[in-house]
Amino acid sequence: MASTIIFSGGFGSGKSEIALNFTLEKKGEDNRETILADLDLVNPYFASREMKGFLQARGIRVLAPAGELVFGDVPSIPSEIIGLLQQENRIIIDLAGDEVGAVVLGYIRDYLLKRKDLEFFLVINPYRPFAGDVESIKELKNCLEKASGLNFTGIISNPNLVEETTVQVINDGHNKVLQYAEELNLPVRYLTVEERFYEELVVYYPQLLKKIKINLRPQWI
């Protein structure tokens, strides 16, 4: 896996939950210096910085707006990111949704391109608005690439209806994402599902399937 992984996509496509899970998994695998950069500058609801304490206790550094700006919605980019991008480490970047979320990459693009391997993932949940047909997805991809100045390297298929997800919901949604992938000429790199579906589905998608633990959604919903 690359040393720089960026998750982008539409609002509510699942970027933060996926970024959190990838970060924990990678750190657990090799204990390499790992940084999760929460660059969601649009608003602080359901952002990965909520898990800062948990991640730090596991040796993961969390970059997020500092001090009371944790609760803010101002465009405050953590200053350390420029220095960290020029060092040997693994950086995982979680963005806010849509082009307003991806635009922050423009600021660090030159540093990102100097790193030797870069994954830029387009996270898609086809059950979300503006993700239900290929035209919308094409528009989203173009907007995100234009805003960030980077080209996507792959798609993460994240078909779900949260608590109402079923195996059929996953299969139908994933098939839709496969069609998008063909049209966009991008590989689907992972299919992410909640832990409870993993055993049943792993035989069908042995290469693609990745299990996700939900961290940011309140249990009482």
Partner: protein, 352 residues
């Protein structure tokens, strides 16, 4: 039917579109901005008007103008922006112009923060601006409600020629749930009062100025009679396990879902608790409260994400019949365990 996964703000915006709303005027503010963003993306494709005004004052006056033509029209904001709109809302209420105003609320006073709150309850239910008036206020508790109440809001607005406010905590605007997309409706209300160009008829005049004192008083008496009619017909609440409850929790919006979980948990522990969830905050469903008291509720506990506002309406409804207590947080939605703790403490103290 296939469901879609929507944020509350998106569902509300889509609900407005499905209700036939083709005009949106607003100024963005967290945590309401997705409503404006959704309209900005959708309207160019379906022939609607999205306009980002230069301020909230401008936006609400654009709503005034567009609603005068009889069109279904909406604006949305959060606390500080809703305060700025109050002058216009007072004018709209007096001119009896149907429209939907959305408050995706955050904590105040002043700039406050951008975390969820219900602290605009007084502002929403007491009119909010100058003069004797009310807006109807609906409090959704789920993302499906956000869509359904937007649609219902336009119906009520047209039916009573009244501005309808939808008030939801920031979290409800931001969180996602799977929902069913409702079928679009075609607005059917006749609007003979609208300023649609006066070909073949006398001009319609929409004004809020009434200089002669008799005329002003008559106007206020007329509005009062309309509010009384709405109070008689439109009070809405959801009740849960109140039939034999000794302790009744009262909570609206997302908070009511936390309270419901808490009621289910304390019932397991043998506490006869129930829940009343006001759906209309104005008119306040006082009869549901009184009925629970008549069924034997000794104590009411108002749970709010503010420092105690709806608790006053519960006290007014009960008029001394039962005791009323309050528990609240702000910027933070308590989880069910926290509420269970509060309820158990009261139950122990009261020997319930």
């Amino acid at each position: 039917m296939e469901k879609v996964l929507m944020k509350g703000n998106e569902a509300l915006a889509e609900g407005a579109i499905r209700a036939g709303c083709r005009a949106y005027f607003g100024y963005p503010i967290t945590p309401s901005s997705e409503i404006a963003e959704y309209m900005a993306r959708k309207y160019p494709k379906i022939g609607g008007v999205f306009l980002q005004a230069e301020s909230e004052l401008a936006a609400i006056n654009m709503v005034y103008g567009a609603a005068s033509t009889g069109a279904r029209v909406m604006t949305a904001s959060s606390g500080p922006g809703i305060s700025l709109k109050q002058e216009g809302i007072s004018f709209i209420a007096e001119a009896e112009l149907p429209c939907v105003i959305v408050n995706i609320s955050r904590g105040g006073p002043g700039l406050g923060g951008i975390q969820p709150a219900q602290s605009d309850y007084f502002q929403a239910t007491r009119g909010g601006g100058h003069g004797d008036y009310h807006t109807m206020v609906l409090a959704p508790a789920s993302v499906q409600d956000m869509m359904d109440f937007a649609m219902e809001g336009f119906e009520l607005a047209d039916k009573y020629r009244i501005p309808v406010m939808i008030m939801a905590e920031g979290t409800l605007g931001q969180m996602m749930e799977p929902i069913i997309l409702r079928d679009p409706v075609t607005p059917g209300y006749e609007k003979p009062w609208a300023t649609t160009g006066c070909k073949g008829r006398k001009p319609n005049v929409i004004t809020t100025l009434h200089l002669p004192p008799e005329e002003l008083e008559q106007r206020n008496r007329y509005l009062k009679s309309k509010y009384d009619l709405i109070k008689a017909r439109e009070k809405r609440a959801e009740t849960f396990m109140t039939e034999d409850a000794k302790l009744v929790l009262v909570a609206f919006g997302l908070m009511s879902r936390v309270a419901k979980r808490a009621v289910m948990e304390v019932r397991k522990r043998g506490i006869k608790a129930g829940l009343i969830r006001p759906i209309t905050l104005w008119p306040f469903p006082d009869e549901h409260i009184v009925e629970a008291a008549e069924n034997g509720a000794k104590l009411f506990l108002s749970l709010e994400i503010n420092m105690g506002q709806m608790v006053e309406d519960i006290k007014l409804a009960l008029n001394g019949r039962s005791r009323v207590e309050f528990y609240g947080r702000i910027g933070i939605i308590p989880n069910p365990e926290e509420i269970v703790g509060v309820v158990m403490q009261i139950a122990e103290r009261e020997g319930l």
